[in-house]
Amino acid sequence: MRFMLLFSRQGKLRLQKWYTATAERDKKKMVRELMQTVLARKPKMCSFLEWRDLKIVYKRYASLYFCCAIEEQDNELITLEIIHRFVELLDKYFGSVCELDIIFNFEKAYFILDEFLMGGEIQDTSKKSVLKAIEQADLLQEEDESPRSVLEEMGLA
């Protein structure tokens, strides 16, 4: 996989993960171009399209589009299920995930994606293994943190 993008129906990019080195300028251009292309497509259309020298696999979940760019010899259907499994992981972690969860906890979304995919290849397909890894990390985090007052958090204290 070359990259994965999550964007909203309004064309707001929510998450981007690049698995090959790409210059910032090119990234922005590609994101813009691809969002336009995908958002212009009608609901019943097929989930695959050719774009530049890549194959695009996308699927819409509620207000969010999940969009993967894969290479010529990669399998489209299994990529579609990579997207689905990622959604399942988010759902399991956040409990009925919505776009706001990903906005406010973007770093968590990145951590989950990293546990699931690495270098553009699937690391573990077992939902349990991935979630176990993430939950372990959360446990570590909760142990670390002592509660703080809201005022302190907001930098007013």
Binding site: L13, E121, T125, S126
Partner: protein, 972 residues
């Protein structure tokens, strides 16, 4: 602000994100961000040392701002500091920041690498994983340099945790992709292969990805993975779906791993070991069988996962291309998908069938789905699916269905999406050319293309149609007629004007007999488009006009008026102006013969790869295009595509290497004028000595032609008795007077009387030749019942084959028709074939016989050799009967350059520095006949004092030596 289920540590961050979301405008967002950046900057710069938590929070805010699309130019150092925190979440955010905002700052990279090194050595699996993720995410060359040798060690160490193994495998894969030269192969490779046997399916999955990437680079090192992969795959496909527990996905056993294993197997040919091979075949059959079973779930995830494995299995079957049974089953399965209600499956089936179409075993099976595919083209609502249907039609096209497919593509083109029009145009153009049995169909198809999608017809396409029309004389008349008709349309595309202008300029004479397309009508039609066209097209039309002046003297005045008009002669465009000025001048000062030579028909183009195909390849990327040049083997073993290519090239023996199009590289018209000027002046040498007109310089063919015409022709005596028997016509007196002049050249006027002029243009390659004979009617009356035949005497008959193409039975007044003769030299010969011409002029039957200048030396191939070689061979050919020598008196002035040109024209290579006397000439060549090749060596010694020459020929065959001396000695 939504409640966050877990780990909601950073309320300040949530507040900030919330603020940003509440911003009503871009400006207020920027304002809020700038405020935050200022705040963070002051915190980082402040005297008070920040605790880990605050650092984490601010770094995370910076990350958020960056991901919103704003530039971040600070905070890197704080992020690097977080890496060395021993608190997990701080480290985690640090790593995230680093992997998103990669910075090439070398100081920083050194610090980052240091932190990674520490984490890798920590033996804490969570920290190790974070470090490995960071390496994979950044994947830079510096990282590869620092860790490429360390990671394999972690991967194969016995005590490494499974999750770390997975990360290490994928990390290595990433480094191998970015810097393959830095990933060392070594003893670890064998151990990596054995990870395919690992208990943990997550480890196997990650290892399979890595091995596939490595095997693509060095297949031999990973050959042993084939048997392990087959064994693993076999266990998965035969397992009950519950066996694999969490690796079962919607009732499908380990779909990801299956796909990856099948992908790995595509790096190798089918296994040679028979038991392994049959085990693999069994697996593939099981997968195909499962596709027919009723689904275990109605969820789309179930069918997607199952079909993902199925499509990958089909990809492997196609890759192996060795089991006809499996290929046909795969094709049938895909055929079912073609009508599936899921758009995704129809798309993939079309895509997959494209590759099946190129297999000899399944090509026929794919063809049976043609109607479904055509239907898809018409009814699919999604352009990307229609695109796949076009690709498949292109891939399944062969001679049997080409007309149907091209017709369907053309009709689709009328409504096709703009995004894919150009590609369809290219495909139609290629198929039409490739499968044209009848070139009139080809011409119709291309003109249709221009009509329907003129804007998408690239230069390559219309260049190509012209190349083909020029090279195939059987279609020229039709093409002229068709473009003439197409140009009648009130609005026609500029590309049609280009093609029309070019073709009528070359072949308009072929339809000029019909009063509806008389020269003037043709000209007016073309010129009516002139003012609507762009400069390059106008330039092309001007060239067509000057060609008209040559073809049709009767419109000369009209065209000269056009050229003379201010809009041409004073055109602001320098190219147009130059053409107008020069063409006008050319038409005024040149005689008809000069015009005929300067503006003669374009020679055939050399065959080469179709430029359209090259363009399509470039457009699509060659991997995506079923390679049309690859010979697709028929069942009977012949290669259809190779044949096609041969047919095309066989019919075009050509020595010419003309530019793609005569004005695509603007040919400087002044060149033509220079040539002309030199013909207007007497040649210096000939004027000085008042030589007879026969003394010609071969390189100046125009001079030749001029003097041919100025020499009083004895043709008047050729008016033979009306009732004379045609078949007994013998070479008439005077009809071979020009014959010797063709010994050293191939083009010119061979015959002329008051009625008829016959011009020749010939080309030879090896033992084959082609002669273009031009019959010009000099009168103002038609020639009727025009016919020709070539006869040879009994001796010559078996030595030389001459085959004549049909010639138009009617030659209009002032018109010229062309006839092609194909010549094959079977063995060496001395006589010449006779061209007999018969026609009716004003009620009288005319018979003319002309000796055709086909001589043995035409089949020379020049041979370069060193002086040592030359003398060695000269000695070898020392037998008395091999050498023929003649001493003769010079008939013309003895000029070194003239002699040189003649010898070159004769066909031999001139060898410099072989003869010790620089005044002498030495040459070598090979005469090609169908039966043998005869090597020839030649020496010509001029003696200027005595005005004599001595010519010596040595060849391996006496008759050849004899004949060559006869031919050449007459030339000096």
């Amino acid at each position: 602000m939504p409640a966050v289920s877990k780990g909601d540590g950073m309320r300040g961050l949530a507040v900030f994100i919330s603020d940003i979301r509440n911003c009503k405008s871009k400006e207020s967002e920027v304002k809020r961000i700038n405020k935050e950046l200022a705040n963070i900057r002051s915190k980082f710069k402040g005297d008070k040392a920040l605790d880990g938590y605050s650092k984490k929070k601010y770094v995370c805010k910076l990350l958020f701002i960056f991901l919103l699309g704003h530039d971040i130019d600070f905070g890197h150092m704080e992020a690097v500091n977080l890496l060395s925190s021993n608190k997990y979440t701080e480290k985690q955010i640090g790593y995230l920041f680093i992997s998103v905002l990669v910075n090439s700052n070398s100081d920083l990279i050194r610090l980052i690498n240091n932190a990674i090194k520490n984490d890798l050595a920590s033996r804490n699996s969570t920290f190790m994983n974070l470090a490995l993720h960071c390496i994979a995410n950044v994947g830079s060359r510096e990282m590869a340099e620092a860790f490429a040798s360390e990671i394999p060690r972690i991967l194969v160490a016995g005590d490494t945790m499974d999750s770390v193994k997975q990360s290490a495998a994928l990390c290595l894969l990433r480094l191998n992709r970015t810097s393959p030269d830095l990933v060392p192969m070594g003893e670890w490779t064998a151990r990596v292969v054995h990870l395919l046997n690992d208990q943990h399916l997550g480890v196997v999955t990650a290892a399979t990805s890595l091995i596939t990437t490595l095997a693509q680079k060095s297949p031999d090192d990973f050959k042993t993975s084939v048997s392990l992969a087959v064994a693993r795959l076999s266990r998965i496909v035969t397992s009950a779906s519950i066996d694999l527990q969490d690796y079962t996905y919607y009732f499908v056993a380990a779909p990801w791993l299956s796909v990856k294993l099948l992908r790995l197997l595509q790096c190798y040919p089918p296994p040679e070991d028979t038991s392994l091979r049959s085990r693999l075949t069994e697996c593939l059959e099981t997968i195909l069988n499962k596709a027919q079973e009723p689904p275990k779930s109605k969820k789309v995830q179930h069918s997607n996962a199952k079909n993902a494995v199925l499509f990958e299995a089909i990809a492997l079957i196609i890759h192996h291309d060795s089991e006809p049974n499996l290929l046909v089953r795969a094709c049938n399965q895909l055929g079912q998908f073609l009508q599936h209600r899921e758009t995704n499956l129809r798309y993939l089936a079309l895509e997959s069938m494209c590759t099946l179409a190129s297999s000899e075993f399944s090509h026929e099976a794919v063809k049976t789905h043609i109607e479904t595919v055509i239907n898809a083209l018409k009814t699919e609502r999604d352009v990307s699916v229609r695109q796949r249907a076009v690709d498949l039609l292109y891939a399944m096209c062969d001679r049997s269905n080409s007309k149907q497919i091209v017709a369907e593509m053309l009709s689709y083109l009328e409504t096709a999406d703009y995004s894919i029009r150009e590609e369809i145009v290219l495909k139609v153009a290629i198929l039409a050319e490739k499968y044209a049995v009848d070139y009139t169909w080809y011409v119709d198809t291309i003109l249709n293309l221009i009509r329907i999608a003129g804007d998408y017809v690239s230069e390559e396409v219309w260049y190509r149609v012209i190349q083909i029309v020029i090279n195939r004389d059987d279609v020229q008349g039709y093409a002229a007629k068709t473009v003439f008709e197409a140009l009648q349309a009130p609005a026609c595309h500029e590309n049609l004007v280009k093609v029309g202008g070019y073709i009528l300029g070359e072949f308009g004479n072929l339809i000029a007999g019909d009063p509806r397309s008389s020269p003037l009508v043709q000209f007016n039609l073309l010129h009516s488009k002139f003012h609507l066209c762009s400069v390059p097209t106008r330039a092309l039309l001007l060239s067509a006009y000057i060609k008209f002046i040559n073809l049709f003297p009767e419109v000369k005045g009209t065209i000269q008026d056009v050229l003379r008009s201010d809009s041409q002669l004073r055109n602001a465009d320098v190219e147009l102006q130059q053409r107008a000025v020069e063409y006008l001048r050319l038409s005024c000062i040149a005689s008809t013969d000069i015009l005929a030579t300067v503006l003669e028909e374009m020679p055939p183009f050399p065959e080469r790869e179709s430029s359209i195909l090259a363009k399509l390849k470039k457009k699509k990327g060659s991997s995506k295009l079923p390679d049309m040049d690859d010979s697709r083997k028929n069942v009977n073993g012949s290669t259809e595509h190779a044949e096609d290519a041969e047919v095309a090239s066989k019919s075009l023996p050509s020595r010419y290497s003309a530019p793609l199009l005569f004005f695509s590289v603007p040919q400087p018209p002044q060149f033509l004028l220079e040539e002309l000027i030199s013909t207007d002046r007497p040649h210096p040498s000939s004027s000085a000595t008042m030589l007879p007109t026969r003394t010609m310089v071969p390189s100046h063919t125009f001079t030749d032609d001029l003097s041919v015409n100025s020499a009083p022709s004895s043709g008047a005596s050729l008016l033979v008795d009306v009732f004379s028997d045609f078949s007994s016509a013998a070479p008439t007196e005077g009809s071979d007077e020009h014959f010797p002049r063709f010994v050293c050249k191939n083009n010119g006027i061979i015959y002329e009387n008051q009625l008829l002029q016959i011009g020749l243009k010939s080309e030879y390659r090896q033992n084959l030749g082609r002669m273009y004979v031009f019959y010009g009617n000099k009168t103002s009356t038609q020639f009727l019942s025009f016919s020709t035949s070539v006869s040879s005497n009994n001796v010559l008959g078996p030595q030389l084959n001459v085959q004549e193409k049909p010639v138009d039975p009617l030659i209009e007044a002032g018109a010229q028709v062309q006839q092609i003769l194909n010549i094959e030299c079977v063995s060496d010969f001395s006589d010449a074939p006779i061209l007999n011409i018969q026609f009716r002029y004003g009620g009288t039957l005319q018979n003319i016989a002309v000796k055709l200048p086909v001589m043995l030396n035409k089949f020379f191939q020049p041979t370069e050799m060193t002086s040592q070689d030359f003398f060695q061979r000269w000695k070898q050919l020392g037998a008395p009967q091999q050498e023929v020598q003649k001493i003769f008196k010079a008939k013309n002035q003895m000029d070194t350059d003239v002699s040189k040109a003649k010898l070159l024209g004769f066909g031999v290579a001139l060898l410099d520095g072989v003869d010790p006397n620089p005044a002498n000439f030495v040459g070598a060549g090979i005469i090609h006949t169908k039966t043998t090749q005869v090597g020839c060596l030649l020496r010509l010694e001029p003696n200027t004092q005595a005005q004599m020459y001595r010519l010596t020929l040595r060849t391996s065959k006496e008759s050849v030596s004899q004949r060559l001396v006869e031919l050449l000695s007459e030339q000096f």
